[in-house]
Amino acid sequence: MRGLFYVFMCFLFLSGCSSISPWERGTLAKEHMSLDPSPMQNTLRSHQYGSREAASGGSSSSGGGCGCY
């Protein structure tokens, strides 16, 4: 699975060679195309998953309490 992941990452770099003109970027600029369109809701959901699952975290932003319940 990890190998597949890194192959995908290489694909990312290669696909970066394509060019998209500024006037073709309208769709990408739509709000629901954002990588994280509801950051606060996601924070709440992540916090809940984090207190119920072992694989918490995974990003460099920090915080959160013990979740000792």
């Binding site: 998209i20 195309m33 990588l35 509801s38 606060m40 699952e53 072992a54 975290g57 319940y69």
Partner: protein, 847 residues
């Protein structure tokens, strides 16, 4: 001419598109968001018993504000408050051993345990293969029963508060951000800092993201009184400290270093992808201090009896986790635009693994479907699966005696020898979160975006955890299955859109300022209406109040001896409140459906804290094994509640509006959305029942709340007066009591130093009745605050306020006001703590 215009427009759009990195385009630079969330666990399966302990519930309140300090400098600050209470598993044991027992209190119901970790003094029976044996209480016969069950333990309400900030600087093709914050709860404190950067290249179609963080955390957890006698502590050295009254404190500290690197790539004109790798190194105390591991000791020297039984002994140990953990996460996110529906499909995959033996996969998909007119709907599904940690087991079996008498062959002296800790594993945990399982969840969010940058969102998600959902099978037995749901509601205001609206409609905004910028003190509500159909106002109101000092009877101070003998309705008082504080957050949403009518919705969120002290001269507290004694002992802890309060719904109109004079009438109802049935957890194996009346979050009744307000403008002066009241429409709530009705009269004057700044002075008289009725159900009266006659009274305050309206710039039209209420007279009913003062702060924006 038209050609030239088109060309200019295209050039402007092109410049704008090129100036923005598509990978981070969408986040508004200036916005403020409030969110309420509620998570509720479902009931656990205890098989032969049914728990009457409420499953755990978490109320979350979050606010976040992002501002631009300068053209390239961003500031964000966030506040989060979680309050939780209820029952969760403390450990796991064979059902045959009776880990959950019938409660001796709350007759007629069968209870989940207060933690009951060592039934029958630890003596249990197993067969020759060490399978648990259960006795049939009718026939006395033993049969094999391998079914496992959680033992539940309940917690009184606790609150966590977190504040953090980030400062960012943007270059044309890069950005850097630094942040820090702290999180505090009774038993756990953490502080953290982070640094992140972004570099855009390839015509801003590619972004490289890097980040790192450091977190330092400290645990200081008091072990459950009821569990302490049954927990083996000897193997934990200095980790467990003994304090007065038999209190055991678990202490530990940990450090987490994390780093991540990722690439965000525009794939084509309708797709985006991100890959991210992160690594976290953690050292220190990472166990959960409230989880224990059951160990079944079986003396290998014994032989089976005539029924084929072996004796075993169950002992409970605080869980032990490794002091080091290395975690890796690889994350892929893909966003695809679906042109025919103008929808966006978000697909995420995450692979997590660590050196504790846990590997986890997370798949999730969101479909964001705009529906037109600002509406959008997002169905989502998520699947999570994990392997168990190397040191996870529901319970342990150790082939040695827990303790046995050994006879010295020479001296014939009998010595009791305990188990050898070295024969136990180094690390062990029965925490279901470290078991192998899968979790499936699905939910729906609905978003409505109004004109001028206001957005409302509501969401719900159902979550189910099951061993049978583990990818590849082999998950934990179904005893550990549970479900839960999460709901949230959020309000977002895009401040940058507001400023744009201001510049386009400055005349309209001026009109609003003239009406709203009247210098009304922050503590006054219901003083104004919206003037035109379709107008909208959004506001946030914060109130803080504190009571402390020497307890009063009427207007006079009383000593401890008086309190002991007279404040508790003919019985003895044992403790008295020392300090009580309340934080209340209110969201104001106002909308005018017609020119003459304004509707207002006001949800509230609050948290309360109370500390108590023993009274000098109080009689000796009864034994901790009595309900009253346990309640008195528990008062040594701070009592806390928090969550959603009651929700107000109001209709306002101007009964008179001429010559700079207005009379505004407000008729409202308060819906009982706040809890009025919060209970303390069982402790010392005693049912402590309801918490003190004043700590409940809501009235529990439907309430009528009328108000009449008169305001007048004379040159630079604003004058106002208001009569308001609260009438509780039911004689009692479901818990058995009703709050006292309230009447309030207030009058103020404010002076406008400039067109955007005013100060105010206000006088307030409040009359509140004492509580009616009394709790129906278990509660223990240990101090004056537990008697309904010791609530309400007459109060006089003087308020000093300042009010500002942003006259120009990006925050034009935003109003801020603060008011401090200084008590002048407290004439309390019965015996109460005097008030120290109250702070009100408001922010509002009228569209």
């Amino acid at each position: 001419m038209a050609v030239i215009n088109k060309s200019n427009t295209l050039a402007a759009l092109t410049a704008a598109a090129l100036a923005l990195p598509l990978t981070t385009l969408y986040a508004s630079d200036e916005e403020t968001t409030f969110q309420y969330g509620n998570y509720q666990d479902g009931a656990r399966n205890l098989f032969t018993t049914q728990s009457n302990l409420k499953p755990i519930e978490v109320d979350s309140l979050q606010s976040s504000t992002k501002l631009k300090l300068a053209d390239r400098v961003r500031l964000a600050f966030n506040y989060t408050q979680d309050t939780w209470s209820g029952a969760t598993p403390i450990t796991t044991a064979p059902l045959a051993f009776g880990g959950n027992r019938i409660s001796p209190f709350r007759a007629s119901t069968i209870s989940g345990a207060s933690p009951y970790l060592q039934p029958n003094s630890g003596l249990v029976y197993v067969d020759a293969q060490h399978n648990p044996l259960q006795q049939n209480l009718d026939t006395g016969a033993y049969t094999k029963n391998t079914q496992l069950v959680h033992t539940l333990s309940s917690a009184s309400p606790e609150t966590r508060k977190q504040g953090d900030f980030h400062v960012g600087y943007d270059w044309d093709e890069a950005s850097v951000e630094v942040g820090a914050g702290t999180s505090a709860e009774n038993d756990y404190h953490s502080s953290f800092g982070n640094l992140a950067g972004r570099l855009d290249f390839n015509q801003k179609l590619t972004s490289l993201n890097v980040g790192s963080s450091y977190t330092s955390s400290n645990t200081e957890a008091m072990l459950d009184h009821d569990a302490v006698p049954y927990i083996e502590k000897s193997t934990f050295g200095t980790r467990v400290q003994s304090l007065a009254n038999g209190v055991k404190l678990v202490t530990g500290s940990r450090e987490d270093w994390a780093g991540n690197v990722g690439i965000t790539q525009v794939v084509n004109k309708s797709a985006l992808i991100e890959g991210n790798v992160s690594y976290t190194a953690s050292t220190g105390y990472m166990a959960n201090p409230y989880k224990v591991m059951e160990v079944l000791f079986i003396d290998p020297t014994q032989t089976v009896d005539t029924e084929g039984k072996l004796k075993g002994s169950m002992r409970a140990f605080l869980e032990q986790r490794p002091n080091e953990r290395h975690q890796w996460t690889e994350n892929l996110r893909y966003v695809q635009h679906i042109a025919p529906l103008d929808a966006a499909l978000h697909i995420d995959y995450r692979f997590f693994h660590d050196d504790w033996g846990i590997a986890a996969h997370t798949f999730s998909a969101d479909w964001i479907q705009p529906l037109g007119d600002g509406w959008s709907i997002t169905p989502r599904v998520r699947y999570y699966t994990q392997d168990s940690a190397d040191f996870y087991a529901p319970y342990l079996v150790s082939n040695q005696a827990a303790s046995k008498n050994v006879i010295d062959p020479v001296t014939q002296k009998i010595t009791n020898v305990k188990y050898n800790p070295a024969l136990l594993p180094k690390n062990y945990s029965s925490d279901y979160r470290l078991s192998g399982y899968g979790a499936l969840s699905g939910g729906l969010s609905v978003t409505k975006k109004f004109a001028k940058g206001l957005e409302l969102q509501a969401g719900a998600e159902y979550y189910t955890h099951a061993g049978g959902l583990k990818l590849g099978g082999g998950g934990e037995n179904h005893y550990a299955d549970f479900d839960g749901y999460l709901i949230n509601a959020a309000l977002k205001v895009d401040l940058s859109t507001l400023s744009l609206a201001n510049s386009l409609h400055s005349e309209h905004a001026e009109h609003h300022n003239a009406n709203h910028g009247t210098g009304t003190p922050a503590g006054v509500m219901f003083d104004h209406v919206l003037h035109y159909a379709g107008d909208t106002m959004v506001g946030y109101r914060y109130m803080y109040g504190n009571q402390s000092g020497a307890t009063q009877y009427g207007t006079g101070v009383v000593n401890d001896s008086t309190l002991v003998n007279q404040a508790c309705g003919g019985k003895a008082c044992y403790v008295t409140p020392q300090d009580m504080s309340m934080n209340m957050h209110m969201i104001e949403l106002m909308y005018a459906p017609t020119d003459w009518l304004t509707l207002m919705l006001m949800p509230q969120f609050m948290d309360m804290h109370m500390t108590m002290r023993p009274l000098d001269g109080a009689p000796a507290a009864p034994s901790m094994t009595t309900p009253l004694g346990a309640a008195i002992m528990h008062s040594a802890h701070e009592h806390t509640t928090g969550g959603m309060g009651d929700t107000g719904m109001y209709a306002l109109f101007n009964a008179f509006d001429q010559h700079n004079q207005t009379i505004t009438v407000s008729l409202g109802m308060s819906a009982p959305t706040g809890d009025a049935d919060i209970k303390l957890r069982n402790t010392h194996q005693q049912d402590l029942g309801y918490i003190h009346y004043g700590m409940q979050l809501g009235s529990g009744t439907w309430d009528f709340k009328p108000a009449v307000t008169y305001t007048q403008q004379i040159d630079d002066w604003s004058l106002g007066a208001q009569l308001s009241g609260t009438a509780h429409l039911e004689s009692s709530n479901t818990s058995g009591f009703a709050l006292g009705d309230i009447f309030q009269a207030t009058s103020w004057g404010s002076y406008h130093w400039t067109h955007w700044l005013s100060t105010s002075v206000r006088g307030i008289y409040t009359l509140q009745g004492s509580l009616k009725g009394a709790y129906r159900g278990v509660y223990h009266q240990i101090g004056a605050m537990d008697y309904t006659s010791n609530y309400g009274g007459q109060f006089v305050d003087i308020g000093f306020g300042i009010h500002g309206a942003m006259p120009s710039g990006k925050l034009q039209g935003n109003h801020f006001s603060f008011e401090w209420l200084q008590p002048v007279l407290d004439d309390v009913n019965g015996y109460q703590l005097p008030r120290e003062g109250a702070l009100s702060a408001t922010w509002s924006y009228m569209f």
